[in-house]
Each structure stands twice: as structure tokens, then as C-alpha cells.
Symmetry: C2
Subunit: 572 residues, 2 copies
């Protein structure tokens, strides 16, 4: 009995106390069941456990470590949080749980049953903090749910999650070996492994993990500029001629999913265009390349546009080939683009943020053939490979150029006065300040799954998309946005409600069809059953874009999605 | 007894099993003690618990959720990880634990007793994964240790930690309200609160959390350019005249801490200069402002340099005033700088990444007087306020300009086809792609501490620096780098070993003194007792820069640091 005494280490058995007091009606059944298992099956202990309950309402942040005698409440509080989190994890994978419990902004802002977002001068008790944690999850979206198909990033990998928990506990940054020795080395080894998979000789080159694909792509443009016009670093863009960047009209661009239909505005080239604006090129100097019906860049169009730019006196600098576009999942023909880049001496970047993961699959990596000829590659393990957000790598074939481009103190690499080899200090390569540790979760997942684990994950997701494609391509009420099997897990389709099936093509039908996907999506969100993205593309009205990157999804979830679309859309 | 049966929910009581098997000799004593408290004091249960031990070596990532019957091993694995993490948390605050266990890169790369960083094709067992987690922490640096003074970011806030654990469990991104409803609203409310503290009327304006102070500062330069020369967004820098940015020669620049001494290279202006290089201004167009002996910009020098730039035909655009410089902790005189910016119609940015937290303190906020006149402010709660990394805000006085600058689809704000108010979608304001959720831990800490909790934290850290300053300013063997009380928690000083105390000033003494701090630092790291940064500044040879941002530090830790410097340095 004494182990549960007041001064002893708090028993994890009492971590349910808080939940019992605060759970919602809907959860009481579940918790009651768990309690029998978790509690130590002893009424005396339950008495203790009730006493602990009281504690949270009288405990405050100031009572936790580093406070004197703070160890006990600290551990107890963290275990309570973990109880909330592990319950959330279990429910995430439970198909009887909703994907989301939708509320409008004004509803959440007005406050939901004791969930008040406002900040105040005075502290709240830890009991309230635990309520806030539960409510934050309650009103959020379960991105790991097997029926969440809304984004390229989905799933909740348990190893990756553990890795993130450890990363936040270590609470350091990647700037120097001095304060992140293990993480710096993990990053170095993992980047080398990724470069080997790209096919660069001996995995040589350089790289960094950055805060997302857009920043990785921005790095690639900066490096390309530095390679050809290094004086821009010191003198600015006025030291260079008018430089031109080329990218697909169909690039990876998940931001545009679920937007309104503006047929006159281009529907893609988001991150390269943003980089063009930010870095001083100007968006007008980002030239969009025509694509075939599957969304793949047409190499002859690239060559024609290069020649055109040169004839105007501009200087072509950089070509982005997309390895997995956001909407269609298209892979540009890298080898043909690389031939042209070599011919005209241009920097070739492959944006494999979405598709890079396919390099892990012996079956699918051929879709990226030619990637080894790229000068730089973006590859986001947080998308297709299921690594928790954020995890994006910029990989560069030429060693030293990242530091050359971004370093503000060239001498430092060679004149250290630290006691260790300061070439391991990565800070001066980055444009960022305190760089977040994004590597550990990925490294840990790779250890835990092995390369073959990632391969199985990827092959499985692609098979599931194939299943969806086969199921709907000839099904009544469906129309594919483009013909042929998907290259990636993207399956793009219109659902045609019965009321539109007999209607001849024309403006009226297009306008009506344009409103179908948003309406179905809104109903999905309000019923909380599933989520899938939609968007228009060029002159095509709103269509659904299914993607699969969550290994929790099964054929039954695909079947469910189809049933749900038909259930919600049949009367539109 | 049945509660510990094979099919029941795994008892947290058995989470020590793994550690018992794998702990190092040094830890056995501690763990043995804990076991008595944590285990359920019953040998039958211990038997079960041993059986569980075996499980981890036969369990793999593929056995966890979403695997069939994966719930039990998932919870068990996560609890095991939490056991490792909570042990780490406890030790972090334990002064008998080392700050770090230093190893050179080649040592860690060669592998330490079963800690192998290499990745392979085949998966490792969960037992090995747990070993890897423990070793990762073992060979890392305890940035929350009360004697870790090496960076502006230190400490391990328990509420913030819980917030990060929840954030990674939610695993979403900030792009749209659709997938991050609660976090998006928390960000909005928190940014408003921060703008109120800056003093902008009704807290109006705009802002975002970004991946660190350098990116926040980069945003400020981009927005300033967009305000005065919006056509640069589409046409590039060639559409603007030669633009000039102004910043202190002494700005916030924690990257340079602990670097070699290159007296000829400027020792500051890191992030604004990086922004100048990246955004196409060129580093030559970043003009450095002279500072007084305390590191504060001299306003008349700013005005003279503005006039000089104009006379050369350049166009002054942007002035960065530093609110808390990295090395000296200096606060530039914002009001005087604002007068000049108004006179010449320049954008005023305040880089309060390090000093912004002082706005929370009624006693110290006067150091930022005039900040309400800034057009934009960088403020990193992950520095002075102890929020876990990363948490940096860019705050902007003019509403809508962030979106104007970065949006690639102006129509979208006004023509939504979503069912909710899409002005809550923040994605198009950012240059990033999947923006990490940095808000929750900060929001939760604010809830838990209240504004007064942050105020107490800040006042305490500043008092502690005052204590250090008073202790060493007249102590034998110490020399202050600048006179007067520190404005922030930065205390800069040389330790003069007995062998140098009688030596006349001159090159020989300077050279010798320059080597003292690196040597002491190297010995500190190798003995693992404490960590403090050093760096040269301008023509001043290497000196120690103490900073306090960890509320766990006490006067005894300051005393310890002084003793340790004297112990390690006395024979140099």
C-alpha cells in the first residue's frame, strides 16, 4: 500500500483520475471499461487516487520542476498528458471515431463548454490545462485517421511520434555539433543515404533538412543563382542579367487544393513562383511549361521557351522538374529535361517533395529515372513516407555550395578554435536561425522499419490507389479527370450526381458540377466521416483529388469513401 | 491479478522492464530505488513484467498500430518511451547529472557500445529502438540543465514540453483552418495579444509564427520591399532602384558565439545580411551602423549613413533596430531611430527575438520604449520566455500586407467555395509550405503561467544576471567587456588567469587571452560540468558571454560557474 503514499513516486495507476472527472458523456463508457484494467483493482488505492484528483485543481505550472519538490507533480502531470495522448492515438485508428468534430471559427472563438481560447494575466490550474489539452484534440482533425485523405501528409506513425516526443524533450537546435552532436551526425548520415538513393556517386554532395518543401525549393533557386552568378550574394540582383526560371504549369502545389475556381488564374507553380517573388527574380520571370493531358511537362515546350527567353535577351537559369505533382501525381520526364538542361547549361532541380519517397520502392523508382542527373532535389519524408510533420530535405550534388551560398563568414570553416572538428557545425549553411531538429523521427523510423519497411508502405499505398482507380473508372456517376492509371497515389475524378448525368456538356452543367465537390466536402466535414481534397485545375471545374499516404487505410476505407460520396451527393 | 493478464491493457507498472535490462551501471542504483516505488510491490506482477521484457525484442514497428492487435504493443511501447523521457526530465534538473557526456564526431560515428547510427535495409526490433532512444539522449546535451548557459534558448519548461508532445500527436499543419482549426485560432489570438503588448492600437495588425528569428527578419525585409516597391514581386529587383538596408554592427546574432577570432571580419549583422543576400539586395547594400561602447546603435550615425546613401543615389528602405543584441544584450534607442525613420520615410523593424520577452515585465519593458512605432517586430518566445524550440513570431502593424506580399492568388480571400470563413486560412500569407504548429506549446504555457508567470520568469533571470555582474565586476581575475549594468541577461567578461594578470597589455597578452576562453570551454565540455558561450567581438579577443534564460538556474549555479572557470583556468 505504501507505494501509493503521499510522498512516494506517483503511481501511473492513478493517471485516470483526471479523465474520470472530466470526460464527456460519450467517453464515459470507454473509460469505465479501461478503469477496470488500469486501476490497481483495489478500493484503498482508488481512495488514494481520488485524493490525487484534487491535486490537479490545486496545482499550477509553478509547482512543477524546477520547483522544489516539483518532481512528483511533474511526472504525474506528464503521465496524465500521456494518458490523454495515448487515448487519442487509440481513437485515431478506430473507425468508429469521427475524423473531425467540425465547428465554425466563430463557434470555437465564442468558447465551447469550458474551452476558452483567451489568454489572461493569471495562471490556470493544471486541471484546466489538462482540460485544454483534451479539448484541443477534441476539436481538431485526426490526420492519422484511416479515412483522412485530405492532404499529402497523413497518418500517425507510432515510431515517428515517439521520435518527436524525444526531440521535444531534448529541446535543442541543429546549429552546432556542440549542442546537437547526435542529431547532427544523424542528419549527415541520413542525407548521405538519401543521396545514394538518388544515385549520386558514393552519395557525395550536401544537404539540409528545412522547414518544408517550399523552403527546400527556395534553397535550390538560391544555390543555382549562386552557382552561375555568385556576385549576386554581395551585389544583389542588379549584378545579374534578367534571369528566368522554368517550372511546370502543374507542379506540386498542395496549397491550392480546396480553393475556389478562378479559371483565368493559373492553378499551379506555387513554391517556385513564391521563391521567384521572394528572391528578387519576380514572378513574371517564372515561366510556366505546358504539360500533356497527364500533367507532365512537354520537353519540347521547355526547349522552345528557353530559346524564346534567350532571343529576348534573358538568361535561362533554372529548371524545376516535378517528381510527383500535387494534383495529378505526375512525374515529369526527367531524362529528357536533363538533356535540355545540359545542352543549355541550366541548373536542374527535381521537386520530389511528394514523389521522392518512390525512390524507396524497387517497383516504382523508375518513375524518377534521371533524377541522378539533377543538381538538386527536394524530398519530403513527411509526405509519402509518413514521417510526422515537418521533415523536408534539400539535397545538393555539389559539395560546399550550400555553405558558399549562405555562409556569412567564409573563414570559419578553416580556422576553428573549438576542440572538435567544426566542419560538423551546419549553421552557416542554412538561411535559418535556430534550426529545428527534424531528423530524429525520420532516422528512428528508418531504423525501425528498414528501407524495406518504407518500400512496403509505398507499394501498399500505390496498390490502394490502383484499387480505387479500378473501382471507379467505369462506375456509373464517375468521370476520370485524365485517362490512364495513376502514376502516383493521386486519383482525380468527378462525381456526377444523378441530376447531372443526363445533362449535355455546356456552361450550365459545368457550373453545376463545379459546385458538387465543395458541397459534398462540406457535408463530409460536418458529418465528420471522412475528408478528401478537391480543386479545379486549369479549365477543369472542381474535382476530387484522392491521395493515399497513410498505411492505416485499407480497401474497406476506399469503399467507404465511395459510398459516402454517393450517399452525400445523390440528391445534389 | 487479472488486470496484468496477457490480454489486458498493459500496466504502466511494467514499463521499467526494458530499462532494467538495458540500463548502464551508473543508472542501476537509481533505477533500483525507483523500482520499489513504481512496481506494484508484488512478485507475481513482477513475473508478468519480466515476460513483457521479452516482448520488445520480438516486436517490430510493423506490430504497432495500425497493425491488427496493435493497440496493446503500441501503448506499451509509448509508455516505455515516456519512461525514458521522464527519467531524462528528472535528471535534467538534477545537478548531480552532467550537462553533457562529450564525444568527438569520429567517436560517435564509430559507434558507442551498441549505438550504431547507420541505417539499414532491415528493421530493428523495438528493443533496439528503445536502446537508440536512450543513447540519443545519453550522448546529447541537456539544454534544460540549470548549468547550461550556452545559448539564448535554454531550459525545459514542463508545460511547453507537454504542449509539444500534444502537437506532435496531432501532427497537422497550419496551412488551413480546415485541418488545424484550433491551432489557427490560437495563433490568431496569441498574435493579437503580442501586438497589444507591443502597443499597436487594439492589437490590430498581422503576423505569423515562422521557423526562427532569421526567417522572421527575412519576412520583415520582404514586407518592407513590398510596401515601397510592390512591383518587385512580379518584375524582380530590377524594377526597384538600388535599395539599402541598415542594421547594427552589433545585432542579435547568436550564431557567432563560439567561433574563431577573425578580427578583420565583421562580427555581427547575421540575419539581416543573410536576408540581404537571399532576397537579392546583396550584402554590400546592408549598411552597418556604429554603436556605442555598450553596443547600442548611435542614431546620428544612422542619419549620416542614410544621407550618404541618398547622395550616392541609393534608396534607403529599411532600418533594423535590435531589441536585445546577442552578445552584449544591447537595446538600440528605438524612439530616436523611429524619429529618423519617420523623417526619411523608412520601414522600421525591431528585432526583438532575444529581448521581446521583456515586454512581459513591467519592470523591464521600458527598454523597448518606442517599439509601438515599429512597422514590424520579430519576437522569439523560444528564447527569453523559455518556450521549447521553435517558436518565433513576425508581427506586422499593417493588416493585409503579409498576404499582399506573399499570396499567389489574390482572389482567393474573397471568393471562397468552402463552407467556412476562409479568411482563417493562413497559408497564402507564408512563404512556407506545410507550416509547423509552433503555437500550441506557447499558448498552453501562457494559459498555465499567465502573463504574470512570464513576468516573474523574466524578472528572475535578470536578477540572476545582476547577481553575476555584481559578483565578478570587482573580483580579481575578471575584466568586464563593457562598463555598467547589463541591460539584458547578457554578462560579458574575460577571465584572466594568474599567469596573465601581471602582463602588460599588448599583442602577446591579447593572443594569450584570446586562447583562454576556448580552452576553458573545451575543458568544461569534456568534464561536462557546465557550458557557457564565448566569442570575440570587433577587436576584442574571445570573452565569455553569460546569458540566463532558464528559470531553473539559481545563485548557486552562478557561483558554481565562477568556481568552475577559476578551477579550469587557474593554470592556463
Amino acid at each position: 500500500m505504501e507505494v501509493f503514499g503521499g510522498n512516494s513516486f506517483p503511481s501511473p495507476c492513478n493517471t485516470l483520475g483526471f479523465l474520470q472527472k472530466n470526460n464527456s458523456l460519450e467517453e464515459k463508457g470507454r473509460l469505465a471499461g479501461q478503469k477496470n484494467l488500469l486501476s490497481c483493482d483495489n478500493s484503498d488505492r482508488d481512495a488514494r487516487f481520488r485524493r490525487t484528483e484534487t491535486d490537479f485543481s490545486n496545482l499550477f505550472a509553478r509547482d512543477l520542476l524546477p520547483a522544489k519538490n516539483g518532481e512528483e507533480p511533474t511526472i504525474q502531470f506528464l503521465l496524465e498528458v500521456v494518458e490523454i495522448l495515448t487515448n487519442y492515438v487509440k481513437k485515431t485508428f478506430d473507425r468508429s471515431t469521427k475524423v473531425l468534430d467540425f465547428h465554425h471559427p466563430h463557434q470555437l472563438l465564442e468558447g465551447m463548454e469550458g474551452f476558452n481560447l483567451e489568454l489572461s494575466d493569471q495562471p490556470e490550474s493544471l486541471e484546466q490545462i489538462l482540460v485544454d489539452c483534451r479539448d484541443t484534440l477534441k476539436y481538431g482533425v485526426r490526420t492519422g485517421h484511416p479515412r483522412f485523405f485530405n492532404q499529402l501528409s497523413s497518418g500517425l506513425d507510432i515510431i515517428g511520434l515517439a521520435g518527436e516526443w524525444l526531440t521535444s524533450t531534448a529541446n535543442t537546435n541543429m546549429f552546432t555539433y556542440e549542442i546537437a552532436p547526435v542529431f547532427v551526425l544523424m542528419e549527415q548520415l541520413t542525407l548521405k543515404k538519401m543521396r545514394e538513393m538518388i544515385g549520386w556517386p558514393d552519395g557525395e554532395g550536401d544537404g539540409l533538412f528545412s522547414p518544408g518543401g517550399a523552403i527546400s525549393n527556395m534553397y535550390s533557386v538560391m544555390i543555382a543563382r549562386y552557382k552561375y552568378f555568385p556576385e549576386v550574394k554581395t551585389k544583389g540582383m542588379s549584378a545579374a542579367p534578367r534571369l528566368v526560371l522554368f517550372t511546370s504549369e502543374h507542379v506540386r502545389d498542395h496549397k491550392r487544393v480546396s480553393r475556389m475556381f478562378v479559371p483565368t488564374s493559373p492553378q499551379s507553380h506555387y513554391s517556385i513562383k513564391k521563391a521567384g517573388a521572394a528572391l528578387g527574380f519576380g514572378t513574371e520571370n517564372v515561366v510556366l511549361l505546358s504539360t500533356d493531358e497527364r500533367g507532365r511537362v512537354i520537353p519540347s515546350d521547355l526547349e522552345a521557351k528557353i530559346i524564346d527567353a534567350k532571343q529576348k535577351g534573358y538568361v535561362p537559369l533554372f529548371v524545376n522538374a516535378t517528381g510527383g505533382s500535387t494534383v495529378y501525381g505526375a512525374f515529369d520526364p526527367i531524362n529528357e529535361i536533363a538533356d535540355i538542361c545540359e545542352k543549355y547549361n541550366l541548373w536542374l532541380h527535381v521537386d520530389g517533395a511528394w514523389g521522392g519517397g518512390l525512390l524507396m520502392s524497387r517497383k516504382h523508382r523508375h518513375k524518377l529515372n534521371g533524377i541522378e542527373r539533377a543538381n538538386s532535389v527536394t524530398w519530403n519524408p513527411h509526405k509519402m513516407m509518413g514521417v510526422p510533420l515537418q521533415c523536408s530535405a534539400i539535397l545538393v550534388r555539389e559539395k560546399g555550395i550550400l555553405a558558399g551560398c549562405n555562409s556569412m563568414c567564409a573563414g570559419y570553416l578553416f580556422q576553428p578554435d573549438k576542440q572538435y572538428d567544426v566542419t560538423y557545425d551546419t549553421g552557416d549553411k542554412a538561411i535559418q536561425c535556430g534550426r529545428h531538429v527534424d531528423i530524429f523521427k525520420f532516422w528512428l523510423m528508418w531504423k525501425a522499419k528498414g528501407t524495406i519497411g518504407f518500400e512496403q508502405h509505398i507499394d501498399k499505398c500505390l496498390e490502394l490507389s490502383q484499387y480505387l482507380y479500378n473501382k471507379i473508372r467505369n462506375r456509373e456517376g464517375y468521370q476520370m479527370v485524365f485517362d490512364g492509371e495513376p502514376q502516383h497515389t493521386n486519383v482525380c475524378f468527378w462525381y456526377i450526381p444523378p441530376s447531372l448525368r443526363g445533362m449535355p456538356d455546356g456552361d450550365e452543367r459545368r457550373e453545376k458540377l463545379h459546385r458538387v465537390a465543395p458541397k459534398i466536402k462540406a457535408m463530409m466535414m460536418e458529418s465528420g466521416t471522412t475528408m478528401v481534397g478537391y480543386q479545379p485545375q486549369g479549365n477543369k471545374v472542381n474535382f476530387f483529388r484522392m491521395v493515399v499516404s497513410n498505411p492505416a487505410a485499407t480497401q474497406s476505407d476506399i469503399d467507404f469513401l465511395i459510398d459516402e460520396i454517393e450517399r452525400l451527393g445523390q440528391d445534389l
